[in-house]
Symmetry: C2
Subunit: 375 residues, 2 copies
């Protein structure tokens, strides 16, 4: 009765978790939720009645201009005419998958990587070629998906050398480079954030980012640009998907971008503090249990459990939720067929420092108990 692709459509663990994190008293390290305290004030003075009419599939022209200027500043060669406004960057993944992924198409992905990207590639029948930042062996993939800046889930930021190596691998094999860059504005220290797509010479490419992390996810807006040949196809796919994105959201975001305030600085100061206090609580609770690196940006810590505490964290989740703590099992971020390391993704931006300290102690306690009882 259903299309074949539906065999690959499984309930996402994220959804299951998002259902319970609203429970009163729940401490959540699970979602990629920005801190509610940082959301901007909105003002409808920028919305006229004409903006309530149907609009262009590509997006509002003023917003496309503003986005293009920012993309060029990042080192990408593009124009306003080659910017497509998206209903969140999740939509970009859907459009790019429609453009490239048939049943059996090889897609190179970092392992682990963003699980809702895997969900979309799975739906269209992708086979995976896993690669790492250090060894970008992307094989005969048609598409290479990457989150080089504050990767989800690992938080890793590619060095310039790693960025150049990935671009070169795509150029050599002709694999289309699909760069997902939603976290770039949340940067807390020195690092290279040059788009990998800016290093590409020959191969086709798509670069996308989002307004969800630095502004507000509830507005559901993102954007992409790409090499010339791909743009008309992506616009048609966008039109078929939802005609165009919400125009009120587009006007509101444009207004916020034009404020030229110190929003970015305020944001990064806030998140850097959250990260630093999280780091202390993490060291206090998880030393000896897991290993991690302090992320230079983004929203996540990635913990790999030491051999003596190696346990499938998907099994732990139910227990943790009963104890009032939610997290993302690291195993969920691995593509089908790749051996997953026992690991946890912990969001540090949403819980208050006090909640975080308490939640981390609880979580470490559960892991200790589970592994002691195992011996």
């Amino acid at each position: 009765m259903f299309a074949k692709r539906i065999e690959n459509l499984v309930e996402s663990p994220v959804r299951e978790i998002l259902k319970v994190i609203d429970r009163p008293g729940m401490i959540s390290f699970a979602g990629g939720l920005p801190a509610t305290e940082c959301f901007p004030a909105l003002d409808l003075s920028c919305v006229d009645s004409e903006h309530l009419q149907y609009g262009p599939s590509e997006g509002e022209s003023e917003l496309r201009e503003q986005v293009a200027a920012s993309l060029i500043e990042r080192g990408l060669q593009t124009t306003p005419e080659r910017v497509l406004i998206l209903s969140g960057s999740q939509q970009g993944i859907d459009l790019v998958a429609k453009l490239f992924v048939d049943r059996g198409t090889n897609v190179a992905v970092e392992a682990p990587t963003y699980l809702a990207a895997l969900q979309v590639f799975d739906l269209f029948g992708a086979e995976y070629i896993p690669y790492t930042a250090d060894q970008p062996k992307i094989g005969n993939s048609r598409l290479t998906y990457t989150i080089p800046t504050f990767q989800n889930p690992t938080g890793h930021c590619y060095s310039e050398e790693q960025r150049r190596a990935l671009a070169l691998a795509c150029d050599r094999s002709g694999s289309v480079l699909f760069e997902d860059d939603p976290y770039r504005d949340l940067v807390y220290g020195e690092c290279d954030r040059t788009p990998v797509c800016s290093y590409v010479r020959d191969t086709e490419w798509i670069y996308q980012s989002s307004f969800s992390k630095a502004y507000a996810p509830g507005l559901r807006l993102g954007y992409l640009t790409c090499s010339k040949k791909l743009f008309p196809h992506l616009v048609r796919l966008k039109q078929a998907a939802d005609l165009h994105s919400c125009r009120v959201s587009q006007r509101l975001i444009l207004q916020l971008l034009q404020l030229n305030d110190d929003r970015n600085q305020t944001l990064t100061t806030f998140y850097r503090r959250r990260r630093d206090s999280f780091d202390l609580s993490l060291t206090s609770a998880f030393s000896g249990i897991a290993d991690w690196q302090q992320p230079v940006g983004g929203l996540f810590y990635w913990l790999t459990l030491r051999p003596e505490f190696a346990i499938d964290t998907r099994e732990l989740l139910k227990q943790a939720i009963e104890a009032g703590v939610a997290f993302m099992p690291g195993e969920s971020f691995y593509p089908r067929g790749v051996k997953a390391l026992p690991s946890l993704r912990l969001n540090f931006s949403h819980a208050s420092p006090e909640e975080a300290a308490h939640g981390l102690r609880t979580l470490a306690g559960i892991i200790r108990t589970a592994c002691e009882s195992r011996v």
Copy 2:
């Protein structure tokens, strides 16, 4: 390089037309544009900072409750838990096509029908079984797509008998019924608007509608409900498509729905007047050239050209646009492989009565000249 489905992705004639209708002085009968005069005033007092956070894929719970109540009033058996908020009803078509349409899947469609639905079904590789309201021969289709109330493009409103016959045909063959009902609020006379899905006994079904016509397309919101078995799949597909719809739009629409004002009456009075004056201008300009029926609702007149004026209206469009008039060639609404009648879809809601009169005279003149020169 591209996925196979991209062979079926062609530039939509609607897009080409929407690009030119912004030209100063252009009289447009082309789009399904609601009248800008009728758009509601917006007020952000209903949006708290919590609504700027990520939200549930299904939609805001209060809005789902409000929508469910309205769906039950229309005769559908549903609950708030089985309502999915969409980023416009175009998105519903994308989700349903993903759920049912493989390459070669038979989809029964009215001929003519909504062209952006055909665009999506084409993308996923559908084959078509064309049917009419009078003869719902849907064959061995897996999916039956219908717009029974003020059909796009014909404006036809199914009688109760036709509604029951279509539901019965789906029940007998097991074809999944997909009912698209975006125009139902724009009703100007007596007619049956009972959802065909409410007559279904056995087969699976999806019913969707939109806030674009009665409120504002720029907010990009629609909704669907469906039989129990389908709902979890459609929620997962929604999540993979864009996580969830714009929460600010959802709050704004909820606020407007709760006003309980006489909006519907104001709207229908406005549109009925537009239709009636359009009717007079149409009779004056097109008598003897084309045949049509006055629509009881919706936004369109459907003109079929008489044999002596039978000409492919796609050829006329360029000339019409040069003369400052845009319309939709009826031929674009026919599925692949079906012989199209020479016809025009004319939107009567957007142009002012004076513009409409002038535009219709111009259009009729172009057709007369083209057909005279042909002899």
